[in-house]
Assembly symmetry: C2
Homo-oligomer: 497 residues x 2
């Protein structure tokens, strides 16, 4: 039986959560529907909602309830989980001074515009003061939150609770040691995917194929939808998941795989326990775990032979003229094309991780003070040469390429790679439990995998930090070895025979 | 210079307004986008928002500010207008007990479902207790608001501030006296629009035509959009007006005219002074005035010869096969078809007003207690015979046809007819000022009319109640005579020559 204090806490958390979902809907609508001259109104709406939400999230009564519950005896384990997460959110909401929050919001907006201009004009010097200021704000924020001296860990913890820079360094160093030689070998391979293989795919048929694929993977369109936006994303909650994609007749795989990626995010959110939305029991476990779900469906599943055994006939049926001259092997190689590029968002799944390692190492140095902002372009270019074997011809294709730092989002990049590791680790655990998994896929049956993820990952909500969750589900600590094994197996078979 | 108290009031009103716009967006999204199994989440979101908005709208500080400002000397006329409207809203928000508001919301939801079932099963007896209860709630509400003994006036005032049942009775009696014989004469006319004239109009071309028409009338698509929903409506605010329509290949005029109707609403909202959104100065003047704008564009403009002189060539160009056997006169007659029907929402603009008069007379008797709910079907059928010359073959096409009463929306129907009157009165005033108005239309120029409405009606916001606004703009009191004149001129020329 929940105590009255616990019941009141969850009622307040549920209310806060509903206000949050409004913010997400406003954000989705802004990307999908907003009339061009209504940006000011939308900003004012978001600001009014943020004010309201901040008032609800910092209400003194919340603090009283938490203090009461923290001192209470006899709480169940789940209830303790809920109280802990709520304390974390409450402290974060109450410890940041209002003036600081405003300063950060204004700076994020200014920073974005300064970055967009600097990138367009390839002018790092113009962006450097923004980055300095953002670093200063991040350090102050960590101080307010009680992480003085561990500022970068604080940033990481915001995205992946329970993760630290030291733990990530160990994982990434091990990954890098295996990955760099693999990329070198693949790059040296005479096997090359045909460029310009897939051209002129009508958007309507792409839409049909994408809908059939995502529905068969298990996305519930009675509790979600997919629309078009400039950059694909997934937002929403439980019974109302809103994914987006984009279409280009000459890049059918871009639309397809970004949609499968977002479907992975969407399946996770649709699988979180609805009765507990708003508390840690119905909340995703962090960005890395989220990314593990999107990457697993996009890569391990969506780029598998089994998947394409099932979907290739339908693909050819919908695009007969466009696929007439394309053999099954050529198609599969195009789906698994590897080619180092300077641009992270264009990278294949093999080299992608090197882009993340590069950013992680630089962020660490920036926070440690061992790298000055003014020396950043040189450091970036040197790292790109070491890791990718490519040197940016300008900062536009180097240090200025990503939006994240312009808004002060530090500690965010590592999640992508942690997600890749976890995805591969989940994949081999699933294969161990269900060796016929790819044969299922070849029959169009993805239900075993989804059911297993629902039970093992989705149902857990935010009970366990990523490292613990991985250990519980796979029986092993989080490790880069499954990812290396997966990349060697899949890409070795294609490029290194 | 605004006093600090006035500045604080408008800041609070602006915040409240922004929260209201979120509710409208949620409502629009529910009709246009919501995944089918997400209705419960949306209800919870609306409820969380309503709670938040109620807290902001009943904040004691608001009451203090109003008391201060009401006692202040030297407020400008506009400021007094703002304070008065705010007092009206504040009293309404604070005088209704929370338990009553909840009871009413629950009953509205139950009432809707009971009505839908009763209509489907043609079972008035099952709906009668709902209606009894809704009447009781409405009377209690009027009591809370200080309208005891004038309960129906209270309902009317909620929709059209400043209007009373006595004033409407005088207007409607005069209208009825002129309208009933006109309808009889048209019904007896040998002129008959061809049924099934317009068939098989592709939806995409309908969409193109509709967009071109509404854009040329002046709707600003940089500050609004149009989508598809089951029932057409218009919502949103200022820079973000969301209209909807529906498409049926065999009813191209339904989609077109409902879109022009919603465009009229949208033009009004786009024309309200943006700097004053949230206060009476940037607020629409009530439902009747709103309806005057939609009807003016739909009927006086959209069904005029001038309008079709400009748009008919494009209509034929987009639908060459569908219009090949249709003469210009046949098309114009189809656009202005008159045929009494039992169903209000299917009615033409001539007989439509009789449907409203019927409902108004019945609502008055229900509130006066001179008509018992159990006697309602008989009273309805008798009135339908008198006014429309038709007797419902079942309550489904009689007293059960409209949704309004199921949610307790009494005093709402009259606005439709008041809007029709005001539209005609504005029309003749505009013609007096600009006799070449239809010649403008024939050249595709609607800018004079929109400019005049912007200055005379839209810019006024909620400064004047409908009767005063009409007097200021037209120089005459609100009267049914311009509507009668307009119907006689337009429809007499088609049916009574």
């Amino acid at each position: 039986m929940p105590t009255p204090a616990y019941a009141e806490l969850t009622t307040r958390l549920r209310h806060l959560h509903l206000l949050d979902t409004l913010g997400h809907l406003l954000g989705w609508d802004e990307q999908v529907n907003l009339p061009p001259d209504s940006a000011d109104l939308r900003a004012a709406q978001q600001s009014a909602l943020a004010q309201t939400s901040h008032e609800a999230g910092t209400h003194p009564r919340l603090g009283e309830l938490l203090t009461t519950l923290e001192a209470a005896a006899g709480l169940e384990a789940d209830q303790i989980t809920v109280v802990k997460q709520s304390r974390r959110d409450y402290d974060r909401a109450t410890r940041l001074p209002e003036a600081f929050v405003k300063e950060k919001a204004v700076q994020a907006s200014r920073g974005y515009h300064a970055w967009a201009k600097a990138r367009a004009e390839n002018d790092f010097a113009a962006f450097a003061p923004v980055l300095e200021k953002n670093l200063g704000l991040a350090k102050r924020e960590a101080g307010y939150l009680g992480w003085a001296g561990r500022e970068y860990d604080c940033m990481i913890d915001l995205h992946d609770p329970g993760m630290t820079a030291a733990a990530i360094t160990a994982l990434f160093d091990e990954l890098k040691a295996g990955l760099v030689p693999l990329v070198r070998a693949i790059t040296a391979s005479p096997v090359r995917p045909r460029a310009d293989l897939l051209r002129g795919f009508p958007v309507e048929a792409q839409r049909t194929f994408l809908r059939e694929v995502t529905e068969r993977l298990g996305f519930d369109y009675r509790r979600g939808r997919i629309d078009v936006s400039l950059h694909p994303f997934c937002s929403g909650c439980g019974s109302d998941i809103r994914m987006t994609t984009r279409f280009n007749p000459d890049e059918p795989l871009d639309s397809l795989f970004s949609s499968i990626h977002e479907t992975g995010h969407g399946l996770y959110e649709q699988g979180l326990p609805a009765a507990h939305h708003g508390t840690a029991l119905g909340m995703n476990a962090g960005m890395g775990v989220h990314e593990s779900q999107s990457r697993l469906w996009e890569n391990q599943v969506g780029r598998s032979r089994g998947f394409w055994r099932f979907f290739e006939p339908r693909f050819r049926e919908l695009f007969p003229a466009q696929t007439a001259g394309v053999s099954a092997d050529e198609l599969y190689l195009a789906i698994n094309a590897v080619a180092p590029t300077l641009i992270r968002v264009d990278a294949d799944e093999v080299t992608y991780n090197l882009h993340i390692i590069l950013r992680f190492e630089i962020e660490q140095q920036l926070f440690a003070g061992t790298l000055a902002v003014r020396d950043l372009p040189a450091a970036w270019n040197a790292a790109a040469r070491d890791l990718l074997g490519l040197v940016p011809d300008s900062d536009r294709t180097g240090v200025l390429q990503d939006v994240h730092w312009s808004g002060g989002a530090f500690g965010y990049f590592p999640s992508y790679c942690l997600g890749n590791m976890m995805a591969a680790q989940l994949w081999y655990r699933a294969l161990a439990l269900r060796p016929e998994l790819e044969a299922d896929f070849a029959r169009g049956d993805f239900s075993w995998l989804l059911g297993w993820l629902r039970r093992e990952v989705h149902a857990a909500g935010r009970r366990y930090a990523m490292p613990e969750l991985v250990r519980r589900v796979t029986g092993e600590p989080l490790s880069p070895q499954p990812l290396l094994r997966y990349l060697r197996e899949r890409y070795g078979a294609l490029y290194l025979q």
